[in-house]
Symmetry: C2
Subunit: 394 residues, 2 copies
């Protein structure tokens, strides 16, 4: 995706408000915001000056991908060669420090990531910079303040531009291939990992459709394991699915740096009376949350709308997490803005994208969750995961 003038303007405005002379980004999702290019290996530095100049120091193997940043000056470097064994960071730092020293910057601070951040993966392994970027900036700019860009980046990432929203929408649409397979793959007598393999395989055939790089993670959690989905991470195991089980399928898929976060729950066979009550309560909670979405609404009110419905149906203590959180640049991050959480101070704004995930968990027994990705629109909400089934039995 080409990074747009609209996006560049929002960043420059935020930099001006914070009196930042240059923004130096290295976390892949921050580089994506700045450039439209999603780094693979984590060894990329993107630098935007308050005058609007964008420099990207990029490993040469990612140069093709970095062309997505058309008005940027791309500086390629070789992290690894046959004639030296420098640490990867040292090569990058020597290029970056030369470049930064040569900039003629107006007064202002130097901003970069300093605080702990949640990051989705951009490859199966990669560079992790720790204290060294801060040290580099102190070395190059001994007389300027080095300040944290983290809150600013999180805030900028919460509201998508129209082209970013299109990428996220497309990412969510592709994920439907996995959920369509789910209703065919789930059956009593099959193991969770077999089901997840079938679903993942159906998705992998379409994951790159329209993207440079796309892949995804599908998890299958059945019976008592579905109750554990209230935790911070999903985990497919080898349990054999039984008739009457709830089977939760959770997906985080990605296309060119934009992530989905989707859950559907299936019942194997005819639902029990309790499962029907759970379905009804979640459907009603979902509708109430969606109804509460509007520009200017408090995110905490959206949470409350879902939570009140579940409580009224007697499931208050079974809804153990927030109703949602920001999705797009972030994956599975409960702190991504806007936080649809009882204590959230966040206000919704058009272009914000997040999930709505009402759920009911009975420890040791079963869990049910329905998680959609939505965008706050000018008038209400836009559902990015309209595919069926909302809650299905097989």
């Amino acid at each position: 995706m080409t990074q747009t003038i609209q996006r560049r303007q929002t960043i420059l405005q935020a930099m001006e408000s914070a009196q930042i002379a240059v923004l130096v980004c290295f976390l892949p999702s921050d580089v994506l915001l700045l450039t439209g290019y999603w780094p693979v290996m984590g060894g990329t530095l993107a630098m935007l000056t308050s005058q609007g100049e964008l420099f990207v120091v990029v490993p040469e193997d990612e140069l093709e991908l970095a062309q997505a940043a058309p008005e940027a000056k791309l500086i390629a470097y070789k992290p690894v060669t046959l004639d030296r064994l420098n640490s990867p960071g040292s090569v990058l730092f020597s290029v970056a420090s030369g470049l930064l020293s040569s900039l003629r910057l107006p007064p202002g601070a130097v901003a970069t990531s300093l605080q702990d951040r949640w990051q989705p993966v951009s490859y199966l392994a990669g560079h992790r910079f720790l204290t060294e970027i801060e040290a580099l900036l102190h070395h190059v700019f001994p007389d300027r303040s080095i300040v944290s860009a983290d809150s600013m980046m999180e805030s900028l990432q919460s509201i998508k531009t129209e082209p970013e929203l299109q990428k996220l929408r497309h990412c969510c649409t592709l994920a439907s291939a996995g959920f369509e397979q789910a209703s065919r793959a789930i059956a009593a007598g099959r193991r969770e990992d077999e089901v997840a393999a079938d679903i993942g395989s159906a998705f992998a055939r379409v994951a790159q459709d329209g993207f440079e790089r796309g892949w995804g993670y599908f998890f299958c959690m059945s019976g008592p394991n579905s109750a554990q989905a209230s935790g911070a991470y999903a985990r497919t195991r080898r349990r054999v699915i039984e008739a009457g089980d709830l089977v939760m399928v959770h997906a985080n898929t990605v296309g060119d740096g934009f992530w989905s976060d989707i859950t559907r729950t299936f019942v194997v066979g005819q639902p029990s009376d309790e499962q029907r009550r759970m379905v009804d309560a979640i459907a009603e909670a979902r509708a109430a949350a969606l109804d509460a979405i509007a520009p200017g609404a408090l995110a905490s009110e959206v949470d409350r709308a879902a939570r009140n419905v579940l409580a009224r149906h007697g499931f208050g203590s079974n809804f153990k997490h927030a109703t949602g959180h920001g999705v797009g640049f972030a994956a599975a991050d409960p702190h991504a803005h806007p936080r649809i959480h009882p204590e959230s101070p966040d206000l919704l704004a058009a272009g914000m994208t997040f999930n709505i995930e009402p759920a009911i968990y009975f420890d040791g027994v079963q869990g049910m969750r329905h998680c959609d990705v939505v965008a706050c629109s000018e008038t209400g909400f836009d559902l990015l995961t309209p595919f069926q089934p909302p809650l299905a039995h097989l």
Copy 2:
């Protein structure tokens, strides 16, 4: 995996040599080395004192997995709750600083990760600590030196204990399910992403066999795309495979934190004369490299053994990368020890695990690589990826 007394002793000896009073680890593969438990979300701190006490501050959702560290004192914390919206780091830091302050440590430095490190992923997203652990340690220990543990950890990770080696061997064995599927999945007229989906699906059915958590990445690169596999990362695309193509299948799979790194190349139909020459040269280079492996051997000599063979066959300039690098705690990291590289100062030792990946790349045309995982044994080498085919045509 239970962390062993043998492993604990090697760490304590390294700490004693470096006069370290406490080692504080947060990168998942470092926590794995210290505890035998591979963190999921990156929000775990493991602390080993020079007296041999091990403390693990662990998110409560990972407590079950952290039981792998049986002699450790586990301190669970809740990163996220419904009644507060603290940053995840702040909760961890308050627990960790209380714990660290209460330790009665002998004289010595405080060691932690400060330098850029390569890390494999442990989930689809997670915490990334940047400058904050260093700041925490300066706060708790104002009078002690805070030193980098990075070189020590890399060195400790290069040599596996016997139980670690067993895990890695099992990880490699499971990956064979993917490669067995490859010879059935590859065919003229099929797309790379379809082939990768079939292979990945076959592997996913066995990935968790014997592991708490296991998954993997299989890439398919055909024709001219196989030449691009010389770069720093693998990438499946949507190219349609043609008769006569080389088709490279590359895998990085993981079981409980131990990673494989395996490549096989297939020919669609009968190989051309040039492809036969490539097969022969690579087989001979591989044998020469394996022959050179022994405790005390220079890693650079192993590289030279393979490189000389390829040069003699006229493919010297087509072998664009090192012959190998450390594998196990690391995935796809060209700087993991031992570096089987022309300029490597590393000496091989029994228990070191690494890959041997002779290759021939013709830009824009085709590439062939054969990558095995091996362990340096007391007498030579032990092949962890003995499965066929070494180089096959279909």
